[in-house]
Amino acid sequence: MSVQPILSVTELKKTFPDGTRALRGVSLDVMPGEFLVMIGSSGAGKSTFLRCINHLFEPTGGRIVYDGTDISTISGANLRRLRRELGMIFQGYNLVKRLSTIENVLLGRLGYMSSISGALGLYSKQDRERAVELLIRVGLGEQRFKRADQLSGGQQQRVGIARAIAQNARLVLADEPIASLDPKASDTVMSYLHEVTREENITCIVNLHQVDYAKRFADRIIGLKDGEITFIGKPEEVTDEVIRDLYGEKGDQVDE
């Protein structure tokens, strides 16, 4: 019995209005429960890829199938229903800074509520319990009534993780979640992200700059270069040559 991919992308293309061809035909199958890491130099198209999946950017070509449904041109209420199953984690955390930590986690429930009750913040008791539970799991139970902008970067990103999980997301898209963090906080955030998504059996696509983290956590690594996939393989298959190809001659993954 073969398992169906949770996400199947075929020949995905994205050309921005200014003519930039960020994705030139990306094809990729993502299996349920996979922890996938995408690496590639700055401008390779990693963010664009993730943002096309949840339609923060509109793809300009190709097919995206999620859980058996074609979502290439999804919009309106269908898009909102899709988005609640796709958690997104951002490099800049993107918490609503003036809301409390727990309120930020509860934002993950909006997609499941009526427009009005969500706008009024009438979260159910279960939702609140779940939010607290998730905050405890990412080590922030004590901070739940603190305002988001009073948390450190690493803590804010853990709230970002909790927000995505609170959505009951089945697929988490993480766009360079640790790019703005120091090594210690990076470790913590990556560990929590890995651990929580493993426990909840959530599929995860993570964009990373750091190859060492990619090798440490990934089930599979995707190498993206100039809008095309040039490498797919297990962490141990990522050789120095692969890195050199992806990041240029110097082989250094830190750009700019």
Binding site: N54, L56, R80, R81, L82, R83, R84, E85, L86, G87, M88, F90, G92, N94, L95, V96, K97, R98, L99, L107, G108, L110, G111, Y112, M113, S115, I116, G118, A119, L120, G121, G160, R163, Q167
Partner: protein, 267 residues
């Protein structure tokens, strides 16, 4: 000789004409002032005469007649109500306009242009003129005052609310949208919280302005204490005028005091 000229320009970095800029401004403004005075047929004699009358009036102001307090307290409170209701209505409509007109979240650019144009118009027409227009439309009393202040407030608040929304970090909006939230939810959970400090302090600032306007609007018959002020001066009861002025001062000061307290609280 030409060498010297170059040196002079290097030292000052501007031509002599440009360097004398302050002088041109001073001459220009003086000319404007003189022309204005001549245009009004003002002469020194009349100004001095006016000064004399002012002294007499000031003399008659003291002591202020506090016995009228009981009679003017009602209109004073009405002035306060007019200001508060006008501001409240203005704020509510301005939030809607701000949300619809902010470039980053407007449903359509034509909506943005139309609403920004509308608020520019309501801003350009002074509150007093709005009051006169509304008196024609709905008759004398506090209602035209409230409407005038509301409309005039929209001009300012609609603009600043839209601008505050435009300054919000786009990531916060995207993140909430990415959870599957509806536009209404995004507004209430990402946008409003982010602009609350700006919203509150601009609204309070506007209340400050409106309490002053509302005291004056009574002069044209749009409710409140202004009419009392006019009546007392017509009757040459300057001791009453002073009492009313003092009361207005206390009201304005009280509103400002409360505002500062609230503003310090909300950050």
């Amino acid at each position: 000789m030409s060498d010297l000229k170059i040196v002079a320009q290097d030292l000052y970095g501007r031509s002599p004409m440009r360097r004398l800029m302050p002088l041109w401004w001073a001459l220009g403004l003086t000319a404007l002032f003189v022309v204005s005075i001549l245009g009004m047929n003002l002469n020194i004699a009349r100004i001095i005469e006016g000064g004399d009358r002012l002294v007499v009036m000031l003399g008659q102001m003291f002591p202020p007649d506090f016995s009228i307090l009981g009679r003017i307290i009602g209109p004073a409170i009405e002035t306060l109500y007019v200001a508060i209701l006008g501001t409240f209505l203005g704020v509510v409509f301005s939030i809607v306009i701000g949300v619809l007109a902010a470039h980053n979240i407007t449903p359509h650019v034509t909506v943005e242009i139309a609403l920004k144009g509308f608020s520019a118009f309501t801003r350009a027409v002074p509150a007093l003129i709005w009051a006169l227009l509304f008196i024609v439309a709905v008759g004398l009393g506090p209602l035209p005052g409230i409407l005038a202040l509301a409309v005039n407030s929209i001009g300012m608040l609609g603009k600043v609310f839209a601008e505050s929304i435009e300054e919000i970090d786009k990531g916060q909006i995207e993140a909430v949208a990415a959870t599957g939230a509806t536009p209404l939810q995004i507004i209430s959970k990402a946008i409003i919280p982010s602009v609350t400090p700006a919203l509150v302090s601009w609204s309070l600032f506007r209340l400050d302005i409106n309490i002053r306007y509302s005291a004056v609007l009574g002069v044209v018959g749009a409710g409140g204490i202004g009419i009392e002020l006019v009546r007392s001066t017509r009757m040459l009861a300057f001791d009453e005028t002073l009492t009313i002025t003092l009361l207005i001062f206390v009201m304005v000061w009280a509103v400002e005091y409360v505002n500062n307290k609230i503003r310090a609280f909300i950050r």
